[in-house]
């Protein structure tokens, strides 16, 4: 089993938190700079203590994440992370220029000597407002953009593209990917449609902002669909993103986590603006299993999050048991561990404990 350290590069300073988008009226650029440096330091540490990947992601218009373009953060990481793979989970490709995405991934793959993981996501529903893209077109745009990106990576002759959403008369990207034919691709997979598309196209699947039972159900659907297309997903084809804080024992971990996260937002980006979320739902964004998709976005209290496998919290032994449960229920081969970014020395200690006590054990699973 592999482990990744994920950070949204959360802003750690004064902000009018809550709602989406979040105003910048009390923004501190010093705090933002410090927050980015803290993330870089944590990623460097993760590389040193043995994490297999480090992960960045795309989110907009909120202090929850200071990486609206994760490619920029990944560019910085190429100079900091010397061994681990750099995962972008991901680029929100339906709202972006696919050729630009292909170019940026190829740059990063070149700068790292082939250590890039290419997450291609639809993004959270609110992201569609960011660049004014029709949410109803999300899935169709995603599928076309992904095919175009793969073509840009693999076609060595200049080519044009006459698509439904994208039209280019000539494409020939430089630099080109180191990994052949291209970096490993993952997409988000909570909906049945996503599992079916991933299975058909032999793409890895990542689960985030969900629960172990919901992810297990979706993973089973993915495997079933993959068998229809004549292949069997490997454990590494499934990523499960989960919050984490490890202390020397359960009491310390719980106490430190509760204290350290008191001031943070209690709801995710999408549910922070219910009117916006509701409007996006009305476009058909969620697909045929809309109620379950919306259900997984609902805020939960800490005990519910622990019980549903949304956070690994405790001493090393307790966290190992929680990871065993994820492995057993879901068969995930990659854990994308979201650290409680803002807890200073306690976050650092948590990363070190994972490196010392957890990674050596799960590496052999």
């Amino acid at each position: 089993m592999k482990a990744a350290l994920f950070s949204t590069c959360k802003y750690h300073g004064p902000a009018l938190d809550g709602g989406w988008p979040v105003p910048g009226s009390v923004y501190s650029h010093e705090a933002a700079q410090d927050s980015m440096q803290i993330s870089l330091d944590q990623f460097r540490l993760a590389d040193e203590v043995g994490f297999d990947w480090v992960t960045v992601a795309e989110h907009h218009f909120a202090p929850f994440s200071l990486t609206p373009n994760p490619m920029v953060m990944a560019g910085a990481l190429t100079q900091v992370v010397k061994r681990a793979k750099i995962a972008l989970l991901g680029a929100d490709i339906p709202i972006l220029n696919p050729i630009r995405v292909a170019e940026e991934f190829a740059m990063l793959d070149t700068m790292t000597g082939g250590r890039v993981i290419a997450g291609m996501l639809r993004g959270t529903p609110n992201e569609y407002v960011t660049y004014n893209i029709n949410p109803a077109e999300s899935r169709a745009r995603f599928e076309e953009a992904l095919q175009l990106i793969k073509m840009a990576w693999t076609q060595t002759e200049p080519f044009g593209w006459q698509g439904r959403f994208y039209e280019y008369r000539t494409v020939s990207i430089w630099p080109r990917c180191v990994q052949a034919p291209h970096p490993k691709i993952y997409m988000s997979g909570s909906s049945p449609e996503a599992g079916e598309f991933a299975a058909k196209n032999r793409i890895g699947l990542g689960f985030a902002v969900t629960t172990v039972p919901l992810a297990a159900k979706a993973a089973a659907h993915y495997r079933e669909q993959a068998r229809r297309y004549g292949w069997e997903p490997e454990p590494d084809d499934i990523i499960y993103r989960v919050g984490v804080h490890v202390g020397k024992d359960d009491d310390e971990a719980l106490h430190d986590y509760v204290e350290g996260t008191k001031g943070g937002a209690k709801v995710g980006l999408t549910m922070a603006n219910r009117a916006l979320e509701s409007a996006i739902a009305e476009t058909g964004y969620y697909g045929r299993d809309a109620e379950m998709q919306r259900q997984r976005l609902m805020p939960r209290n800490l005990q519910e999050r622990i019980d549903h496998g949304q956070i690994l919290l405790g001493g090393p032994d307790t966290v190992m048991k929680q990871i065993e449960n994820i492995k057993r229920e879901l068969g995930a081969g990659v854990l994308d561990l979201t650290v409680a970014h803002q807890m200073g020395a306690k976050t650092i200690r948590s990363i070190e404990l994972i490196g010392e006590k957890i990674l050596p054990q799960i590496r052999h699973w």
Partner: protein, 186 residues
């Protein structure tokens, strides 16, 4: 190229419709009901022959300049015609190349001097390597993928094929700057 009128009784005679510069179309089994050809006929005089009458079309001497649109198995015939009438054939549009068409037309590909638009469907399993091979061998070839279409891209996505084809036929190499939205004003 003869200017024969459409007659259902004479299957060897080209179907002719539309107005504008002449466009000889090869490989369309039922030209009269082709959505693609109907759209192209908005700005071209279309001479269309079904696959089995392509040879007859080749025997008719061309008079004046014209462009050629050929589908799949008629790609070789189009290349032959372009080689035989270099002063008349102004441009080629080739749809759905296959590996067989590359192998059968190796010499013609090397000799082709005319500007070519090569269209390949992203769902066409036969065209992947062939499109790349065509592009490598044809110096003046523009390869464009038609997304979500297979070998029958002219029936699956006629509007997409017509859009890029019209722009290429009108502006040749300059089509690299798309004018689909009318951005070229001078």
């Amino acid at each position: 190229m003869t200017n024969a009128q459409t007659t259902d009784a004479d299957t060897l005679a080209p179907h002719t419709f539309g107005t504008g510069a002449p466009l000889l179309c090869l490989g369309f089994a039922d030209p009269g009901s082709s959505a693609l050809l109907q759209q192209l006929a908005a700005s071209r005089q279309v001479f269309a022959t079904p696959a089995h009458s392509a040879a007859a079309a080749l025997q008719t001497p061309a008079s004046g300049k014209f462009t050629l649109l050929a589908k799949a198995s008629e790609i070789g015939a189009a290349l032959t015609l372009a080689a035989a009438h270099p002063d008349e054939v102004e441009a080629l549009v080739l749809l759905a190349p296959s590996q067989a068409s590359v192998e059968e037309n190796g010499d013609k590909l090397a000799e082709a001097k005319v500007q070519i638009l090569l269209l390949a469907g992203t769902n066409d399993n036969e065209t992947g390597e062939a499109a790349t091979a065509f592009k490598r061998r044809l110096a003046a070839c523009h390869l464009v993928y038609v997304y979500d279409a297979g070998r029958d891209m002219d029936t699956e996505r006629p509007e997409a094929v017509a859009k890029v084809t019209q722009d290429f036929l009108t502006r040749r190499d300059k089509f690299l700057v798309s004018n689909a939205d009318g951005r070229i004003t001078k």
